[in-house]
Symmetry: C2
């Protein structure tokens, strides 16, 4: 791995749950030599990608990312365009809606919207990456990636997160085929035991699946009527976001979604 990747990877250790990291900590997390980590950090800091917080000497993400993100959104309004649709989706279904993006082989939540309908809801403030094998979003994305990508993911260790987590590659491939046949994915407690979720893939302008849109509900609220409602809202919102992104649904998905709607 090159130096640049190492430096950029450092940025990934900053999370909502852990916004400040000290040099030694970060070196340990990234499994780097302290001197190396220091050099990487100072160079990142020189460019405004991290900054040091006065007294404690810890590091946090810097202001450079703001400018770049504003630029990216201006050119490809990803988050901004999806946000209102996400909110409507949460409100329509009464559950938590969230959108994830496939970035460098990792599926990362980018935005979410909560519903006020229930006192209990699925929270995902601190989720940093969604496991492909254990979430509906993961399966939805996996189903529409090149075979090589799927193989790479399924060859990795697939941790059993709950008693319901499917961890057998062959079984997961069967799930994935089903996702392709249905046009959406479903997970019943595969990630957290009492969370039931449904997801649809999202496509970019080149027809590649670049993310997923999901609704995560408490398992106890997930009756057949609710599933139908969620599926319907999800397919509609998925179409909408893909359109807003200037994306194109693969013909078969477009057909499936139209029939189900």
């Amino acid at each position: 791995m090159g130096t640049i990747s190492k430096a950029l990877e450092l940025l990934n250790y900053f999370t909502k749950a852990r916004p400040l990291i000290g040099l030694s900590d970060l070196a340990r997390l990234a499994e780097l030599n302290k001197a190396t980590c220091f050099r990487l950090l100072t160079e990142l800091a020189d460019n405004g990608f991290v900054e040091q917080i006065g007294t404690s000497r810890e590091y946090r993400l810097g202001p450079s990312v703001l400018r770049l993100a504003a630029l990216r959104e201006a050119q490809v309004p990803t988050r901004e365009a999806a946000m209102p649709v996400l909110q409507v989706l949460a409100q329509q279904t009464g559950e938590t809606a969230h959108l994830s993006l496939l970035i460098a082989d990792i599926l990362r939540p980018l935005a979410h919207a909560y519903s006020a309908a229930h006192a209990t809801k699925v929270m995902l403030e601190d989720t940093e990456a969604l496991p492909f094998h254990a979430t509906s979003s993961g399966l939805a994305v996996l189903a529409f990636q090149p075979e090589a990508f799927r193989n790479r993911i399924l060859a990795q260790p697939l941790p059993r997160l709950t008693t319901s987590t499917e961890t057998v590659p062959a079984a997961l491939r069967a799930c994935i085929n089903e996702v392709r046949a249905l046009g959406y994915a479903e997970s019943r407690g595969g990630y957290e035991s009492d969370v039931h979720s449904m997801a649809v893939p999202l496509f970019d302008a080149l027809g590649r699946c670049s993310g997923a849109l999901a609704v995560a509900a408490l398992g106890s609220r997930m009756g057949e009527a609710q599933r139908r409602k969620i599926r319907h809202a999800l397919l509609q919102a998925g179409t909408e976001i893909t359109t807003l992104w200037g994306g194109t649904l693969p013909a078969d998905i477009a057909t499936l979604w139209r029939l189900a709607a």
Copy 2:
């Protein structure tokens, strides 16, 4: 300069006016060998900081920056917090308000708001960096930096952008002293000949000046009454944003602003 800085600097060449850049172009812009540039770009692409646009093979900013920016805003709500204040400022003054951040020794516009009051307004869609010596924002920031920083900037070439641009370091130092004495900066056509602007410095939680807030007006509309109005609105908005940032105004500035308000 290290490899990381070279790579991160590549990201700076993407602008609103130039969102897509080809390999050879970028290599020329950054004055890098094409092979080097290619390696940097692929590593950036591996991490989602740039991506290649299908057919044309040009590069653009990638989705990674979105995630990082969302994280940064969650911890330090810079842009989001300032935006509404900026809009009010534009509306109150009837002119263009903009906010810039000091990032790695460069003053970069981060957000702006236009007023609907006049058919003619100052646009700054494509501005990527504000020269310190020729803009009110630049002078406002410069006035509250460590002496070493000022020296560094004033030792660089100071291009004459208009006939009104002040380019003599000694004269600029006098201007800067005046800015410190007044608590705000002013530029009359130093950047663009028919644009007159006023700016105040913004401070972070450690009392360091980390940016500037400015109102840019057409010179023809800048009478004494308008100047007073802008100054008043600017000082108020500057106080507000600094507060929202959890920042602290230096005691002397706080006094100056209170007296002028």
